[in-house]
Symmetry: C2
Subunit: 233 residues, 2 copies
């Protein structure tokens, strides 16, 4: 058992080292980046579509899409108007920093201000693998049920922002928002939260404004991408 733990720790150490390099590379390039995590079908791709639709006039966007088998999500991001790079994990249940590094090699970062990485649909393993993005975001969804923070604490604990998608379905569900929020507060006190519906558009503006603000704060700290002056500082 100790041997196994030691192997797992070495894998995670190696991943963290490459994640640090990715982070430094993205900061030097002036690219603000998000790692979106969620269970299958919570709405990562829909959120990316909404983000592209609303921000692509002001912000140059690229998407890296992790999937175990298809390019369906990258196709949707590309159709919505973003540069999209597909990572097929070949069955692996999460992205890791090496996969992101390889994907970054396929993107001209001079052309990018905002990079969104869509992780594999899974609430467990992606939480253990830092990619090197500036922020980690979890997309929860109301039909999943209000007990998810309690049952999947790792991913709730580690994120910088939480989207609660599909609030348009609340009238048709027994979703106890107070219980859900209590779980979130225990694990991640004060985390910024965006209840919204990608389908109806309700609440999406607050999410977009958070991205705009985050890009401004990122630039104030790391400088702009020389080619990218679309969001006013």
């Amino acid at each position: 058992m100790n041997q196994r733990i030691s192997v797992v720790e070495k894998i995670l150490d190696a991943n963290d080292q490459i994640a640090s390099e990715n982070r430094a590379y993205l900061e030097a390039a002036g690219v603000f980046s998000l790692n979106l995590m969620a269970s299958p079908g919570a709405g990562k791709t829909s959120l990316i579509e909404q983000t592209i639709k609303n921000l692509s006039r002001d912000v140059r966007l690229a998407v890296v899409d992790g999937d175990i088998a298809t390019s369906l999500d990258a196709d949707r991001a590309a159709a919505a108007g973003a540069r999209a790079v597909q990572i097929n994990t070949g069955g692996d249940c999460h992205l890791d920093a090496i996969m992101l590094r390889q994907a970054l090699g396929q993107i001209d970062l001079c052309e990018v201000e905002l990079l969104i990485v869509e992780n594999v649909g899974n609430l467990i393993c992606p939480a253990n693998f830092q990619l090197g993005t500036c922020q980690n975001v979890l997309v929860a969804s109301t039909p999943e049920g209000a007990d998810k923070p309690y049952k999947y604490p790792g991913v709730y604990r580690g994120v910088d922002a939480l989207v609660i998608n599909k609030i348009d379905l609340l009238p048709y569900l027994d979703f106890d928002m107070a219980y859900f929020r209590r779980g979130v507060q225990i694990l991640n006190p004060g985390v910024v939260t965006f209840p919204l519906s990608c389908r109806s558009g309700e609440g999406v503006e607050a999410w977009l404004e958070w991205i705009r603000e985050s890009i401004r704060a990122f630039r104030a700290r790391y400088g702009s991408n020389g080619m990218a002056k679309h969001v006013r500082d």
Copy 2:
């Protein structure tokens, strides 16, 4: 890379060996068993609650509940009236045959006709680890979206039955049932399918009848559990 594949293959071979032993043990004991797999929040626990509620007068039931952190699901199964054993995977994203073997040691199988194993909420890794149950069942849910068979082919390919939960939400979703079913047919032609709603109860009776029929067929092949004569042959 070859070394990694070889390690993974050895782990899966060892798992399959123990799964075979679990299968033989359950067959010898006359216990029909199901492995329920699904994404987080698709409704595995709700389906188990419905099954206990409707079958526990006729069938002696036990539940083994896999979870990464809590005993919330086992508590719900116990509250619904079944013998429930909790497996905390300690962060692991799936159950394996060794975990099930350990859990079986805590159950008096003479008292059991139907064993339901609730796997960890994850559409990817559980598909790679046979547990040794008689049947594998996938619980899909309509809010997850109709593209899931295409995106998570492994789990759709390997199951003996498919539950499509939350059909009560169909009027409020853009779920393309024909597209979903086409994907299922490509991966798993003719798989028995149960569209239902654990919330409204619609469609649940067909699922229950499938379990009753499966128990009868299992007994015709492997014999009854000596202590268990509740379902008429």
